[in-house]
Subunit: 191 residues, 2 copies
DNA sequence: TTCTCGACCAAAATCGTTTTTCGTTCCATT
DNA sequence: AATGGAACGAAAAACGATTTTGGTCGAGAA
């Protein structure tokens, strides 16, 4: 099995899927862009869906890697959490396929999309939990139910990813993130 | 102008729009259900879209009223905020038209839907701000930037409304709301 | 004068049929 | 084992005819 060919196909189809999505992209298009016959694609992949799954999983791994790198650069759990959300949003904007996979309704009925969403979610839970446990251990946080708190924080952060308001400038988005993190850390109740 | 007829049309069409949505509902259907001729509907309303706008705005007013009633019943800003999110979610589940108006992509390009979304959002901002100011005045909260904090809290609460996770039981949803509110109030940083 | 509604109009949607496209496989060749 | 042009069959798109639907007209009743 030629892993190099598989990688070529993945890289090339990644770009085309980014631009046109799963439906509008044709196998013929991918084959031509990769300078191969269509049958060759089927030598390396099970189906068109399989190519797309590989592309989305690749971007999900890349996203996780970038998030982990950003978190590892910080010392305090506070900075880690901040790095987490900032990096996640930055790369979700860049990685069109994983972004689509997580948000587009037309992909809802694909089983593999469901698995990727679950995986991405478990990655989120794990990452947040790790940061919270670290915060508790360093006596900076005071969290009793780590699991529930992780879940609640992810809910809150989802509100940042969801395109619910149309007229928010980019500076305001960063201000919003900063303030939300401030509230999540310190709360609004007087100390 | 017979306000009673207008009300009859609005109430009847509200039920039909709830069930079938804007597209699948026909003017003929509404006319028959209201026991009127089609032309009569056009005597009271500008267009089909105009009837739908009236229905959605009616539900939005009702939602606001229910939220205000729930908030007024509480004494503390904490309880008010809790009542706010609980009541909002409860009634958004019941009021199919305003719920659709706020969330359905196929309605995105209607100007009146944009205005309703903006109005609903301003209502949210105003309600949250009022609660936060009350909290500050009672020396319970310690908020410097009311506007930004309102905005950030709304972001966080949006994460609860967004159907981002598929396998959440109803009890878990309530737990999640409670924990998120706890975090918003007290933060996770050790006090 | 206001309100009502059946008939009508034009545009949009639906339908059945035909044509084209596309995901996948076949099979000969390298 | 890997390759790729051709072929296959199902699905999607295109097409033209027909039906449906949003909205209006104009006569009549209240």
């Amino acid at each position: 099995m030629n892993e190099n060919k598989k990688t070529i196909i993945t890289n090339i189809s990644q770009k085309i899927f980014s631009r046109y999505g799963l439906i509008k992209t044709t196998v013929d298009e991918i084959a031509k862009a990769a300078r191969m016959g269509k049958a060759t694609l089927y030598h390396y992949f099970k189906s068109k869906e399989d190519i797309y799954r590989e592309v989305v999983e690749k971007e999900n791994r890349f996203l996780a890697q970038k998030i982990n790198e950003a978190i590892d650069k910080e010392d305090t759990p506070k900075e880690k959490l901040k790095a987490y959300i900032t990096t996640r949003m930055k790369y979700l904007n860049e990685l069109a396929n994983i972004h689509s996979a997580l948000t587009e309704e037309y992909l809802d009925h694909y089983a593999f999309i469901e698995r990727i969403r679950e995986k991405n979610f478990q990655q989120e839970i794990k990452t947040i939990r790790t940061i919270l446990i670290d915060g508790n251990n360093k006596n900076l946080f005071s969290i009793e139910d780590i699991e529930l708190t992780s879940f609640a924080i992810i809910s809150a952060l989802k509100g940042l990813e969801y395109p619910w308001s149309t007229e928010i400038s980019l500076p305001k988005i960063q201000e919003n993130i900063d303030k939300l993190l401030d509230i999540l850390f310190n709360g609004i109740v007087k100390r």
